[in-house]
């Protein structure tokens, strides 16, 4: 089944400052969309606002997943409608084991521990990490791989990845990108990857690249856009749209 995620005119305020100023994006199942942009352009704000992070105030616009408006829903309901956020800095949750988190999140408990191990191996995460408390004492790279384990178990319709490549070495980045790439065919997962590095795109072929500056999308094009960015940087895009 094909799903759609449509974001229109999204405006979000954080700490009294408007950071997203009318963000638009539309994507379908199985597609890979990449959002690139300089620091401070609002990329992470987008990811957090879509997941309902406390302190992120929506001023206007809409986010619709398969006809359901997400902005009126709780973070739990958004996730249950098929939206997943892999965080840049996943929180430590002391005393909570990954398997208990996944069961509470609605994962099928059948063979769950084994499936978690299989997912861990796909992203080269030491399986003993799965028996520790969620993200506690894990390195930055291990946390991101652990997020991929959750993704593989929860099988969301759309996965947002906030700076998934930061803190990962080249090998780990390859493993994570390959996992995401196969998710797009395994269950037709739509991937929305936020990054400001090109290297993720070597393993994960984008359907579309969106350039974001000052809280909105200023250019959208195919994979070739990343080469232009590589050559010219973000400066030519800063005033592309006003």
């Amino acid at each position: 089944m094909s799903s759609t995620l449509v974001i229109e005119g999204l405006r979000v305020e954080v700490a009294g400052k408007e950071v997203l100023k009318g963000f638009d994006l539309s994507m379908k199942s199985g597609e890979v969309h990449v959002i690139m942009g300089p620091n401070g352009s609002g990329k992470s704000t987008l990811a957090h606002a879509l997941s309902g992070r406390p302190g992120y105030k929506v001023l206007g616009g809409s986010v619709v997943l398969d006809g359901v408006g997400l902005l009126a829903l709780s973070p739990t309901e958004r996730a249950r409608h098929g939206l997943f956020l892999a965080m840049q800095h996943p929180m430590e949750v002391p005393g909570v084991r990954p398997i208990d988190l996944l069961i509470a999140a609605g994962a099928d408990a059948t063979n769950l521990r084994q499936r978690m191990s299989d997912e861990a191996e796909r992203v080269e995460l030491r399986t003993e990490v799965l028996d520790r408390f969620v993200n506690v004492d894990l390195s930055g790279g291990e946390r991101k791989r652990a997020e991929m384990v959750q993704l593989g178990i929860l099988r969301p319709k759309f996965a947002m990845l906030d700076e998934i490549d930061s803190g990962l070495d080249v090998d780990a980045l390859g493993a994570v990108a390959r996992r995401l790439s196969s998710a797009t065919t395994e269950w037709n997962c739509g991937v929305l990857a936020i990054t400001h590095f090109r290297r993720l795109l070597q393993e994960l072929t984008p359907t579309k690249i969106h350039v974001m500056t000052d809280g909105r999308v200023v250019a959208t094009d195919g994979p070739e856009l990343s080469e232009i960015l590589e050559r010219d940087g973000y400066e030519p895009f800063r005033h592309a749209k006003s």
Binding site: S51, G52, R53, P54, S74, P75, T76, R78, A79, R80, F84, L85, M87, P90, M91, E92, V93, P94, G95, V96, D100, L101, L102, A104, A105, G106, F133, Q150, L154
Partner: protein, 413 residues
């Protein structure tokens, strides 16, 4: 018999060591019950306390183990049963372990009980009114493999149990002191542990009394050279739950790890006091106290690290975290240091606050409901403490703590 004093004096007159008990009783009467103007009692709901609500038992009442107690006993190598303060079953002891009942026992500190506890009202009551001290001795070099479980239940309206555990040189054991029952009762146990040179005691004090019990407990560990005491104290029941846990590191290299945990609900008061006394060089103590208070309950943690002059290279750490689960709950944290030596490492930290909002959001963003996220986080707060329990008991205790947690309301402050 009308009053607590009548029943107490009648009980005392029938004991072989009545004279010593009368002395303890007189000291208790002279001191009287504490009042909230005493700094160390200022958080206790003493206005609700009238000793005449209790009577002293001349013999133990009927008692049957709870389901949890039975399951705990299944895992034990030795079960000792204490009912209303009376040791009613000393079990069949494994090799190298002895259980005796001693009237008029001395304190393991080497002095008399009266001298040792002269300024502690409830310990004096215990000295006067305990049927006998249950003394568990573990021989030199003996490693007791399966846990020793002491099931301490209260069916009557009072219990003054006295327990001493003695570990010989290079021995090791795991001991569980489990408390249950105690509806509308005064439960005032006194325990001492002596850990010989290079011996190791893992101790779990699990208090699951009725929510209407008055629980005033005191434990003291005496640690000799290179001795190790790892103690976990979990307090869930009680109208008033006071738990004082002290350790004296008497000789070189002694090491104490103490984890205290409590869960407050309703109008409970949890009052935890600790005293880590470093009397010799290169001794170590690690103390972690964590508690959660819900509804209108309150807690106080007061911890003293004392380092004697000459106790060089001592390492003492104290941490206290409190979780507020309701806007009407309250937690106080009072760390104290008394250091008379320069060449030491000493640290303390404390915090009081609600569940972490971002951790909760993280769980919610995976599809966990708010109430499940809160339940997982509260369980997690306690599970972290239970990681120190021995493997064969951890799952059982974790399950039991979970069932207590399931009854707690969480209201965002």
């Amino acid at each position: 018999m009308n009053t607590f004093a009548d029943s107490a004096l009648s009980f005392i007159s029938e004991r072989p060591d009545a004279q010593d008990r009368r002395r303890a009783w007189s000291s208790f009467e002279e001191a009287g019950l504490p009042t909230t103007s005493d700094e160390v009692w200022r958080y206790a709901p003493l206005n609700d306390l009238s000793l005449d609500a209790f009577t002293v038992n001349s013999f133990p009442n009927e008692h049957t183990d709870s389901e949890f107690a039975s399951r705990l006993c299944e895992r034990a190598g030795l079960v000792v049963r204490v009912v209303d303060g009376f040791c009613v079953d000393a079990g069949s002891t494994p090799d190298g372990v002895r259980v005796e009942l001693v009237e008029n026992a001395s304190s393991l500190s080497g002095t008399s009980m009266l001298k040792r506890y002269e300024s502690d009202t409830f310990a004096l009551l215990n000295k006067a009114l305990t049927p006998a001290t249950t003394v568990v001795s573990i021989g030199d070099g003996v490693n007791v493999e399966k846990p020793i479980v002491i099931v301490n239940s209260t069916s009557g309206s009072s219990s003054f149990s006295s327990t001493q555990i003695k570990l010989g040189r290079s021995s090791s054991a795991t001991v569980v002191e489990y408390f249950e029952g105690g509806a509308d009762a005064l439960v005032a146990p006194l325990s001492e542990y002596e850990i010989g040179d290079n011996a190791s005691l893992q101790l779990i004090t699990y208090q699951r009394l009725s929510q209407s019990a008055w629980h005033v407990a005191r434990t003291t560990g005496f640690l000799h050279r290179d001795a190790r005491l790892r103690q976990a104290v979990i307090g869930i029941g009680g109208h008033y739950n006071r738990s004082r846990n002290d350790a004296e590191m008497l000789d070189l290299g002694a090491e104490n790890e103490l984890r205290t945990t409590f869960l407050g609900s309703g109008s409970q008061v949890h009052d935890f006091r600790t005293h880590q006394f470093h009397m010799a060089p290169r001794t170590r103590s690690t103390l972690l106290s964590k508690g959660a208070v819900a509804d209108e309950s309150r807690s106080v943690y007061t911890g003293l690290i004392e380092i004697e002059k000459g106790a060089k290279r001592t390492d003492a750490r104290q941490t206290n975290h409190n979780l507020l689960l309701s806007p009407h709950a309250h937690a106080d944290s009072v760390p104290n240091l008394d250091i008379r030596e320069n060449d030491v490492v000493c640290a303390h930290a404390s915090s009081v606050g609600p569940l972490d909002e971002l951790q909760r959001w993280y769980l919610e963003s995976r599809g966990v409901t708010r109430s499940d996220a809160e339940r997982l986080m509260i369980q997690g707060f306690f599970y972290e403490m239970l990681t120190a329990l021995p493997h064969e008991l951890a799952a059982l205790v974790e399950q039991d703590v979970t069932s207590a947690l399931a009854l707690v309301n969480v209201v965002a402050p």
